[in-house]
Each structure stands twice: as structure tokens, then as C-alpha cells.
Amino acid sequence: MDKYYLGIDVGSVSTNIVLIDEYNDLVYKKYIRTQGKPIEMIKYGIKEVAEIYGNERIQGAATTGSGRYLASIIIGADEVKNEITSHAVASLTYRSDINTILEIGGQDSKIIIIRDGIVVDFAMNTVCAAGTGSFLDRQAIRLGVDISEFGDLALKSNNPVRIAGRCAVFAESDMIHKQQFGHNPEDIIKGLCQALVRNYLSNIGNGKDIKAPIMFQGGVAANKGIIKAFESELGERIIIPPNYDVMGAIGAAIIGKEKAKNQGYTNFNGLDLYKKDYSVNGFECEGCSNSCEVLEIKEGKKTLARYGDKCGKWSYKILS
């Protein structure tokens, strides 16, 4: 029987589930759109894992992404890790000599600066989603282009249009303006890719020492137009890891593996957890003027955890 380790990355746009083996090699990956229903999507993903690997034992599990706490309670994670560390661990496992990681996901983008295998600096987008995947998604819909063809179309253009990419709303109006002007879609798409990269580098990459080798990951790394724009802007070749779209989950799985090995056991609830019934209730605490939104996660009638309160009055977690 092989040993497998589970990693789940619950992001705002997608939920990624991976299994890795003892050698950190990926054996299974699933990319699901979160659609605002993280619990259902986790169950849906775990169900598929159970159907294929139902007889194997999962020896460790960890979660990452903005929904990491929720996911960890449901699956019984050995470790809950932030996205930055998870991405860095995954990239370094793939190539230990990288110095820079560019990551663009659905609503997040990050840059991680690494020297000698150690994270020395990082940044995440703060106030604006103009440089992220959902922005591109939206513009593709507006242009009537499938997002998967977006990159190839961009490569066809020889004469990109300059689009104001500082802000998603302005970029959109600027793009409409260029359309009305009569520019062809390829040129607009390439212009958009360049605008996104410019925005990313000036916003998130601002003041960071971007040194080769550079790795680019996250859902947007599927887009050849963006890769090309990064290469011409940075003057360096960009490395795309084979599983660029699930690097966060892979990192989590590796971290979970190490944790489980160190502690000698796993907290994982087992693959049949998808059969259980989970529910989340939210309520506003009226104890003081902070009006915290408290969340309560239940498995059937049993309360698994409560969180979201500032004072700890409701915080509660069943210790297994």
C-alpha cells in the first residue's frame, strides 16, 4: 500500500485538491471552482479522491488558502499554512535554485523573493484586483473570447494597444473605448496582458529585487500572453512548473507530510468524510458594540468549531 498525503488550497475562485506520494510527486490533482461554497466543493473533491484512492490510507493532510481554517476543521488537517509559505515550499521542492516566485491567482497576486532557498521578502496585492485572474476572466467575457484561448490570441498580435491597467474599472472603460475605435481583438488582448503585467510589477513588484531564475505560477500562468509579457518586461526567461495551477495545494501537502511524520500520526478525518453532513451557521454576537460575526461549523448536530469573535466568548474547538 502506498503512502499518500493530501493538500487542499481553498481560494476565493478555486479549490484545489492534490495527493502527493512519499517523494513529493503529484499523483492526483483536482481544480474546482469554489463558487462561494467551499464546504460543498471540498466534499465534492474528497468524494472523487475516495472513489479512486478509497482503499489507500492518507498519512497526512494540510490546508492553505483564504479558506484554510474552515477546510482544516472539516478535514482534520495536521497543519494550516498561509499561502505564501505553501507556494514557496512547493516551488523550492520543484527547483531549489529559484530566486523569485510570481504568483497570480483568482483574486490574489503575490510575489515571493527567495535567496538561498529561504523566503526573504514577499508582497501581496492590497487594495485592488486589477492584476488578477478574475479581471482577465471578466474582460475575456466582454470580448467574447474563451479564457483558454486568450493567451494564444495575444501571441498573434504584432501591434498591441496600450490600455490603462491601473484600475479594473478604468481598464474596462479604456478597453471599450479601444474597441469602439476599431482596434482588432488580438491587439486589445495583448494590450490587456501587458497592462496586467505592468500593473503587477509596479504594484506588487514595487521595490522588490526580481532576480532570475523566476518561476511563475497560479491559474494565470496558463496564459501564454501573460508569460510573454512578463518575459519581455523582465528580460528573463520565465519558468512555469508543470503543476503551476495547484502549487499552493502541493506546498500544503508537503508541509502536512512533514508535520504528520514529526508527530507520528495524522489528524485526518478519513476519505469518507464526504458522506457526513456539515453546516455553517453565522450569527451576529450582541454582547458588545463590536458586533462580531461568529461562525459555527457543525457536523450533523455536533459543533466542530466556532470562530470569528474578538473576545473568545464563542471561540471553541473540539480537541480530537
Partner: protein, 365 residues
């Protein structure tokens, strides 16, 4: 005179006891909350800094509870803070509240003015009386600051971090209900004992992180999303570069020379910043270097969105981080700040430092 004042971190606790002693009726505004910010944002200019909006909220909440006098500090410059009292008075007048403002401006600007305001507050003109009361106030502020610092230290080692939070929450609750300096001192002593009884995990070797930036943001837990607690729960000992104690020491007790601690920071900042840039910009740069020299593992700068002096400091800090090979992270907060992203950054920063230290230890070993 029913007196109220804006929140400045934990200063309200000492402030209340001090004013109790002077025989004023103190109307404490509710602790900063979402509601305070909503009221404040609605009645403040949109582009103004975050502290202004919270002050507005504090004043209105205080007035609605019956306050007729507002006590605050000002000064002409060196940042927008100096203009707060003037604009606030205007806003409150426009809203139809008629309240009396007692503003303590910097001593150097006009000593008589300073003394008059103080006398108005204290209800006496005797310099001896004023000095005596000021000493008491300073003692109380010092004690509450020391208590917060002790809780930060204990939290980093505590087996159960929530227990420390609970002790401190109880302290704030009891302190507000107490009357006068003696009662407060008793509560502080009792809380200190409770903190010392917390079970510690000696196997934890905590990181040390300094919080630097403009004073309001780093001492007001609602604004900095309780960064001290969040870091403490990640086994980090937190120290703040500015506290009411340090501020008073520099601006009042050590007048006109400034406290040793602050002047040291100016000296440290000198290679990067010769002059002041307003607000606490120069202090922020100096503090980063100060913490490095004190053997801290890293610093976090917190700034309220669009705070000019801190933005200047932020760009300078990049150089400082490079030159000293010292981890510095900047976090920007405003009323739109999401807690999830904030937490992710803190966790990643702590991971970064631990990994760095691991690397260093193996090199030495």
C-alpha cells in the same frame, strides 16, 4: 463639567482615573468598534486619515452619553493630527452639538496657552498642583503600559493564549468601572498577579518583533486589528516603538530636551533622514534600526492609508532593510482592511523569520 476624550490605545484607563481624582465627571466613549467607525466616517471628510474618523466617532458617542466638554491634544503640525481639534470643533458645531474643547498644544508653541488649558482641565492655576496631578497621571499611564507589555510577554509563552486575552479583557472591563487612582492601581496589581499565574510553556523560544509606525495606529488595537494579540498567539514577543508612556516622557517630562530613547532614534535615523518629515516618520526609521540593534528578529510597520509621514518612512525602510539585512514588513490599514489578508501576511512574516533563523543557526552550528 462632564468630560470626554478620544481613545488612544489604553490611555483611557489612566485618563479616566486621573480625571476622577480631579473631581470631574468622566464620560468614557465606547471602546472603538465598527459602530464608532461608521458614525465617524459618516461625519468626516472622506480623504482624511483613519484616526480622525475614529476621533469623530468617539466624540459623538461621548456627547450622546452626556459629555459637554472634550479634552484632547493638538499642536500646529507636524502632520494633519495638529489640525484635528480645529476641524472637529467645526464638524461638531455644524452637527449642532455645542461642546467646550480643552486642547493641550505642544509646550513649545505657547507655554501660557498650555498652562491655561491645563489649569482649565485641573480647575487650579497653582503650578505645584498642576505638577502633582501630572505626576499621578504619568504614573497611571506608565503602569497600564507596563501591564500591556507584561501581557505581551506572557502571551508568547502561554500554553493557553486565550487565557491571557481573557485576563486582559477582564482588566479593561474592571478598570472602566473603577473609580479613582487607588482602585485602578489595585486592579492593575491584581491583573499582574493573574498574568504571572498563567501556565507557561518553557519549550517555546519566541521570536521578538517590534511594531513601528505612527503612534495612534500602533497603540489602538481596533485600528491595528489587535496585532499584539495575533502575534502573541503565534508565539511572538511584541514591543511597540511608541506608547503613551514613551510619548509623554519625550514631549512633557523631558521637555525641552526630549527623552533619551527618542533622541537615540533620531541619531540612528540620521544616515537615512536628516530632518523630520512630519508625524512620526523619522521615529519610525530610527525605531527600525533601534530594534535591529536590540537583537530583535524583525519589525512590522503599520500605517493608516494615506498617512504622508509614514509613506515617506516606508520608502526609506526598504533601504534600511537592505543595508542591515533585517526583515521589515509594512502593513497598511484603513476601514476597508480585511482581516484574512492581514493574518496571512503576519503568518508568512513569522514563517519567514523562523526559517531565516533556522538557516542562521545551522550555519553557526
Amino acid at each position: 463639567m462632564k468630560i470626554t476624550f478620544p481613545h488612544l490605545g489604553n490611555a483611557y484607563i489612566a485618563g479616566k482615573a486621573f480625571l476622577d481624582e480631579l473631581g470631574h465627571e468622566v464620560i468614557l466613549p465606547a471602546v472603538n468598534s465598527r459602530k464608532t467607525l461608521e458614525i465617524g466616517s459618516k461625519n468626516s471628510p472622506d480623504e482624511i486619515c483613519l484616526p480622525f474618523k475614529l476621533f469623530t466617532g468617539n466624540y459623538i458617542e461621548g456627547i450622546e452619553k452626556g459629555a459637554d466638554t472634550i479634552f484632547t491634544v493638538g499642536s500646529c503640525g507636524p502632520c494633519r493630527f495638529g489640525l484635528y481639534p480645529l476641524i472637529h470643533k467645526q464638524i461638531l458645531d455644524d452637527l449642532g452639538y455645542s461642546v467646550n474643547f480643552i486642547v493641550l498644544d505642544a509646550i513649545r508653541e505657547d507655554f501660557l496657552d498650555f498652562k491655561n488649558s491645563l489649569s482649565q482641565l485641573l480647575g487650579t492655576t497653582s503650578l505645584i498642583q498642576v505638577t502633582k496631578s501630572a505626576k499621578l497621571a504619568f504614573k497611571l499611564i506608565n503602569m497600564t503600559d507596563n501591564l500591556s507589555q507584561l501581557s505581551n510577554y506572557i502571551r508568547a509563552y502561554a500554553v493557553n493564549k486565550k487565557q491571557v486575552n481573557k485576563i486582559m479583557d477582564d482588566f479593561y472591563e474592571n478598570a472602566v468601572q473603577s473609580f479613582g487612582a487607588n482602585e485602578l492601581i489595585n486592579i492593575i496589581n491584581k491583573t499582574t498577579d493573574n498574568l504571572r499565574d498563567v501556565k507557561l510553556d518553557k519549550s517555546i523560544s519566541p521570536l521578538k518583533i517590534g511594531i513601528i509606525g505612527e503612534i495612534y495606529t500602533i497603540i489602538e488595537p481596533y485600528v491595528n486589528l489587535e496585532i499584539e494579540r495575533k502575534l502573541g498567539e503565534l508565539n511572538v514577543i511584541v514591543d511597540k516603538s511608541l506608547t503613551p508612556t514613551k510619548w509623554l516622557d519625550h514631549h512633557v517630562l523631558s521637555y525641552p530636551f526630549g527623552s533619551k530613547y527618542e533622541t537615540t532614534k533620531f541619531k540612528l535615523a540620521k544616515p537615512y533622514m536628516v530632518d523630520m518629515v512630519g508625524g512620526h516618520g523619522r521615529e519610525t526609521v530610527g525605531s527600525a534600526i533601534y530594534y535591529k540593534n536590540m537583537g530583535y528578529d524583525g519589525v512590522i510597520q503599520i500605517l493608516p492609508l494615506n498617512c504622508m509621514p509614514e509613506i515617506v518612512a516606508k520608502s526609506v525602510l526598504k533601504r534600511v532593510a537592505q543595508d542591515l539585512n533585517f526583515p521589515i514588513m509594512t502593513l497598511v490599514v484603513d476601514e476597508m482592511t480585511g482581516e484574512a489578508g492581514f493574518m496571512t501576511r503576519l503568518e508568512a512574516f513569522v514563517d519567514l523569520i523562523s526559517k531565516r533563523n533556522e538557516g542562521r543557526n545551522t550555519e553557526i552550528g
